[in-house]
Amino acid sequence: MHSDPETHVPARRTSPRRNSQLATLNSQPIIRTAPHMDVLRFTTAGSVDDGKSTLIGRLMYDTQEIFEEKMEEIKRHTQRDDDDLELALLTDGLRAEREQGITIDVAYRYFATPKRKFIIADTPGHEQYTRNMVTGASTAELAVELIDARNGVLQQTKRHGFIASLLQIPHMIVAVNKMDLVGYSEARFREIVADFEDFAEELDVQDITFIPISALKGDNVVNASENMDWYDGATLLHELETANPRADRNQIDFRFPVQTVIRPHQDFRGFAGEVASGKIRPGEEVVVLPSERATHVESIVTLEGEQEEAGPGDSIVVTLDDELDVSRGSMITRSRNQPERTRQIDADLCWMNEEAMRRDRPYVLQHTTRRTQAYVSTVIYRINVNTMHREEASAFELNEIGRVELETADPLFIDPYKVNRQTGSFILIDPDTNQTVAGGMIRGVAEDVSPFGQDTAGRAADEDMVSPNVVWEGLNIERESREAQNEHRAAILWLTGLSGSGKSTVARAVEERLFERGCQTMMLDGDNVRHGLSGDLGFSPRDRKENIRRVGEVARLFFEQGNLTLCSFVSPYQEDRDRVRSLVPDGRFLEVAVDCDLEVCKERDPKGLYEKAEKGEIANFTGVSAPYEAPADPEITVHTDSDDVDTCADQIIDTLEAKGLIPEQ
């Protein structure tokens, strides 16, 4: 509707909507905001050029939040010949941003409707993205994710979604923008919705709403579109006005971090702070941390006088019945509902400084009103924010996110971030530069989790693969008892080599010999596990790693059952093989290098795979388009290009005998 800049100046005093209000409220104060109005803080995310600034401009324009002089500036700057206003100019900021046409830092913008006051954290879509998005998301109750209808769900879209999920923003609106450029096509909209839903299954966001819009033309932003009859949902503004922002605020667990002590004279000693969560009334029993001394709330003091009750977000002063040791950093809570008290925390961390994380130096950790020194004791993994896969890492660089364990000098009183944003969040400060270098979201008390890819014997291969609340059950019948009955020891024989090197052929020959001797055996090979156990995986390095991890876990179970477990897998990475090795005691994992010249393998090509790979029909094919890391120090090496199968099998049997795993014959 606002297509002509000449005739659509947002003249508040003359616009029909504004006029009708003026008429009815003639003699009374006219306020844009009703007295019972609340606040919604939301963040806008989107890729470069998907119209984020235009959308914010549109919201402000259509809700008539733009002042005359700004409007004139926009008209001056609208250079294009078409009729659309340069609404994006409403959100320009610093000089460098105007010059380069980009946004550098989070900008906060304000507008209000008669129903609600809105604060937008407008985060730039490129440089420093992660840092800014995390900053904006930390105070947001809703995220608006913008998608360009022409481009659909992009890598960046997923990255934003992931951060919104990590920061636990409870509501998400996916605004499919530029619908005008795809002919207002319902099919295109549905396609994008399906794509996003597919991806969102991996996210922890409870509530997602999809809206087809055109920020430039104004469709479904503030006013319902006349171009999309097929859409009968609400407009973006309506969703923003009706989303329930405080529903997620923790009303249950009373936590009151003390900011400062108020002591005007000898007879008054009050503790000032903001109620982080839960509610409190005078007379109720409380406990002061860290002393754990119990007392009662005497009064809740404000400038208006004493209050009957205080709840989340209230800045109050509390007085207590007893003289206890309370100062900044103390926390007042209830005796039967206390936070965890710990010096070891498990947290998701976002690194925000140019200087990379170091594990050999302390940082200042600020949590509620408490500061203490902290070391990053373990980096469990880094998240690749584009693929959302976990990666091995020893430290984080700027804009990297992952999971760590921290050890602190003094105890902290924590809750999981998911349960309590206030007592579940912290920042790290560099003690030399005083810069805020990281933001953290607490998962809980650290449980000494091994880093990704660096497990030690006897421990579950990868902690994050352990389902919650599951404890490794001791075996009913010990492996040692089975071994005694079987009259041989259990072991994992891991045959690794190129495709066509003869791993499975050799493994089968070995298994037959062992069976004849009366040994308990099991054989796992690439083809059988990829039909079921790993049927969902492909051949990317990540999927190969996962495949080997699963096989390793299965092999370990067979091992514990007393089997000589033969595994024949290409398993090209040393790291993956070492990981399986780490699952069983020393001496029970035998790496068998099945050595065969690549040319011989290609000639054999039993499944026609090399031919396909060389034609490019198969990607990531080991030896052709993907690397193979030969074992550095294998227990056994067999040469299938020069020796026959029986020779190779005998060689392995001999080694098992020599190592005392099977009795000599």
């Binding site: 606040v39 610093l94 304000y110 005007p264 805020t436």
Partner: protein, 303 residues
């Protein structure tokens, strides 16, 4: 007023946030100061500081950097308020800075002491060793301010580096600084002009009469109405006329413009602000010098 109440949720929330920030300032810094201009935002600051530390007195001194071009009403109001609060007021004069040759007076018909007050402010911060200066700036006022932090770091020269600000997450404010550096703290960051007026209305706060419509002699210059004062030189063709005006911001008489208005009560002012078409700082000649006028002054140490 509590956030959990059903009424005035947004004002209660803004109030609580501002109080939280003031208490963080008191707790994290050794020697904070509250900057006072006489304008409504700084009055609100004083009121919120009183709230934050009640029943104790405001635990920091209040600093007025006096340009010497103040409205007489501002000074009277300031002195009454300080007496009522029993507050520790520090006044430092821009005129003295200029006298000492530490800054040069601007000349010409548009001369103002807006830029010179930066020098006086930084001198005062150094003189008292203040490590935090609380100000009433709001993010909705101006585009450079939209990017301000609550705790805004300033280097040894009082400079703001907008491209290198500390990330500010949740309500965790990092006020650690090195020797000689200081912070500007802005508890009203999330307030809008309308919020301020609604809060003044709701709390029944007293404000200087300049904010209410009154008859005054003004001269129109570059679209701005300037009040008659000894500090303004009339240019050729300019003349004073009496108009019904009020001020939306109060700064120096040389650059603070009035708007024509009939709003003689706070209720009427709230109504006017809610329906207005002109930006609050639109009548500030100092902002209109260039598109980045505020950004440039902030980089040098302005509020």
């Amino acid at each position: 007023m509590t956030v959990s109440d059903d009424t005035s949720k947004h004002l209660a929330w803004l109030e609580s946030e501002a109080v939280h920030v003031m208490r963080e300032t008191e707790a994290q810094f050794e020697n904070p100061v509250l900057m006072f201009s006489g304008g409504k935002d700084s009055l609100l600051m004083v009121y919120l500081a009183k709230r934050a530390f009640h029943p104790a007195k405001i635990p920091f001194p209040i600093l007025h950097v006096d340009t010497g071009h103040n409205f007489p009403e501002t000074i009277r109001f300031r002195d009454d308020l300080m007496e009522e609060l029993g507050a520790d007021l520090i006044v430092r004069s821009v005129a003295k800075t200029i006298e000492e040759g530490r800054a040069k007076e601007e000349s010409g018909p548009n001369a103002s002491r807006n830029k010179q007050q930066i020098v006086t402010l930084l001198d005062t911060i150094e003189e008292f060793g203040f490590d935090a200066a609380l100000g009433g700036a709001r993010r909705d006022e101006e585009k450079a301010r939209a990017k301000e932090r609550f705790f805004s770091h300033r280097d040894r020269f009082g400079q703001w580096d907008p491209k290198n600000q500390r990330p500010e997450l949740w309500n965790l404010y990092n006020g650690r600084s090195s020797q000689g550096e200081h912070f500007r703290v802005f508890p009203l960051s999330n307030w809008t002009e309308l919020d301020v007026w609604q809060y003044i209305q709701q709390q029944g706060l007293e404000i200087p009469s300049l904010y209410l419509a009154h008859k005054r002699e003004v001269v129109e210059r570059d679209g701005v109405l300037l009040a008659k004062s000894p500090y303004i030189e009339l240019r050729e063709g300019e003349y004073y006329t009496e108009k019904m005006v009020r001020f939306r911001t109060i700064g120096d008489m040389t650059c603070t413009g009035a708007v024509e208005s009939t709003a003689t009560t706070i209720d009427e002012v709230v109504a006017e602000v809610a329906t207005t078409q002109q930006a609050e700082r639109g009548a500030r000649a100092d902002d209109q010098r260039s598109e980045a006028a505020m950004e440039d002054r902030k980089r040098q140490g302005y509020f």
